[in-house]
């Protein structure tokens, strides 16, 4: 690891820490490393509902820069039932928290991505796009992902989801918030009723030629389908 890599230390739910994390931090500080402090507040967990979780999330962000002398904070509000960051409530917590911090400080903020659906599915790409739009339009500085299939299945993540995260962010950057919220409401509505039947998708080896490292034509077609949906909702990035 180099000093210019992001050295991770994690807070615990909610507003908790262990001494081991402080030991990591001491090493990072004395070595002059970039420090990334991570924490994923739980919507529906100890804090409670939407507003309470957002308040705790704001406190957690601030604590990253006090307790762990962070260079940047990595958020990840997660839904207690679904275990994903792309649920409507998780997005609302992230969007409100980032705007609150962004309006009152200069702090550097990121967010991490856990989708319900897996690679090579339009649902996974639409979930990813919804969060990228939220994070970009609420002033975050860095997007980190994507842990597709909730980040629990072996080899069920691919670079195509990161491509969507990047392109959706570019599509939303500078967009008026009224339009952002209108698009998000419709976009989340397209997938939020499908959590129980969400497709696991395909593994990296099924999505890519693992020697040439090129995505399959099937995945490129799925990607185009997602792009068409996003374009119909009002994102003009792919028309340029």
């Amino acid at each position: 690891m180099r000093q210019s890599d992001s050295h991770e230390v994690s807070q615990l739910n909610e507003l908790k820490i262990d001494v081991g994390a402080l030991c990591f931090t001491a090493h990072y500080v004395l070595n002059g490393n970039v420090i990334m402090c991570e924490q994923m507040p739980i919507y529906g967990g100890y804090a409670g509902g939407l507003e309470e979780t957002t308040i705790v999330d704001v406190a957690t962000h601030l604590n990253a820069f006090v307790m762990t002398q962070a260079s940047w904070h990595l958020d990840g509000p997660i839904h207690v039932r679904w275990g994903i960051t792309t649920a409507r409530e998780a997005l609302a917590v992230a969007g409100h928290c980032a705007r609150a911090i962004e309006a009152n400080t200069h702090l550097l903020l990121g967010n991490q991505y856990y989708t319900m659906a897996g690679p090579c599915t339009t649902m996974c790409l639409l979930e990813t796009a919804a969060q990228a739009i939220t994070d970009t339009a609420s002033g975050r500085e860095i997007l980190s992902g994507v842990a597709s299939s909730k980040g629990v299945a072996t080899n069920f993540t691919t670079a195509m989801e990161a491509r969507m995260m990047a392109e959706a962010a570019r599509a939303a950057a500078g967009m008026e918030l009224d339009q952002v919220n209108r698009i998000l409401d419709q976009l989340v509505g397209l997938y939020e009723k499908n959590y129980k039947t969400a497709p696991k998708g395909k593994s990296f080896a099924e999505c890519y030629d693992v020697v040439k490292l090129t995505p399959s034509q099937e995945y490129l077609d799925v990607y185009e389908e997602a792009v068409s949906t996003l374009t119909e909702l009002g994102l003009n990035y792919w028309r340029k």
């Binding site: 210019s4 992001s6 807070q11 615990l12 909610e14 507003l15 908790k16 820490i17 001494v19 081991g20 931090t25 001491a26 500080v29 804090a47 409670g48 979780t53 957002t54 704001v58 406190a59 601030l62 820069f65 006090v66 307790m67 002398q69 260079s71 980032a98 705007r99 609150a100 309006a103 200069h106 702090l107 550097l108 990121g110 991490q112 991505y113 939220t134 339009a137 609420s138 002033g139 975050r140 500085e141 860095i142 980190s144 994507v146 842990a147 299945a153 072996t154 080899n155 670079a159 990161a162 995260m165 990047a166 962010a169 570019r170 950057a173 500078g174 952002v180 919220n181 998000l184 990296f204």
Partner: protein, 202 residues
């Protein structure tokens, strides 16, 4: 007048040994939910989940005030010592003020600057691409990460975790865990180099 100083991790540890004792179940089930609920009422905070990114400046600022008050009033619970680490509002604000406004991630021609942006900025965020801690098998770890590193819009890598190391389970607090973590870093660095981006951050 003495200059305000930001809190250091060493001072945090000292407070973790001397702060007030609290039962962890009380922290989880009473202190956190009750304080958050009271601050919600105090600041009149009401969110509409159909409006994912807020536009109301009063709501935005009240959320910040409530979050700041939550941190100062509750502090942070140290699980190993069973004590609460407390900060004053001045200490929190001084530490925030001292936080970096920008950071360079990576080296040489592959370095990128992480710097502040507003919600209305037409400059997009940086992209940290990768499995984000999801499990990856040993045989595909290098290739899977190289696919991220060669994506033109990916600026840095967030890696996955090796499911095994030389066929062994990298259980926490074992030598195999150390071997796995070191291998993850080495393999990601190699993936970046093979993609022609050796200075890219991870």
């Amino acid at each position: 007048m003495a200059l305000d100083k930001k809190i250091t991790v060493f001072e945090v540890y000292n407070r973790a040994k001397t702060g007030p004792k609290v039962d962890e179940r009380d922290w989880d089930n009473k202190i956190i939910p009750q304080t958050a609920s009271r601050l919600k009422e105090k600041y009149g905070i009401k969110m509409d989940k159909r409006v994912i990114v807020p536009t109301d400046p009063e709501l935005i600022n009240n959320l910040f005030r409530a979050g700041l008050e939550m941190l100062v009033e509750c502090g942070v619970y140290s699980m190993d010592t069973g004590r609460v680490i407390k900060f004053t509002e001045e200490e929190v604000l001084t530490s925030i003020q001292a936080a970096p406004k920008s950071v360079i991630l990576g080296e040489g021609r592959d370095a990128v600057e992480l710097k502040g942006r507003s919600y209305a900025d037409s400059r997009p965020p940086l992209i940290q691409g990768g499995p984000t801690g999801a499990p990856v098998s040993e045989d595909l770890f290098l290739a899977l990460h190289q696919a991220y590193a060669q994506e033109p819009l990916v600026d840095t890598i967030v890696d996955g975790v090796l499911q095994t190391i030389n066929g062994n389970d990298p259980v926490p607090n074992s030598p195999w865990e150390i071997a796995a973590v070191k291998s993850e870093a080495m393999l990601v660095r190699m993936a970046q180099a093979r993609a022609g981006r050796p200075g890219m951050a991870l």
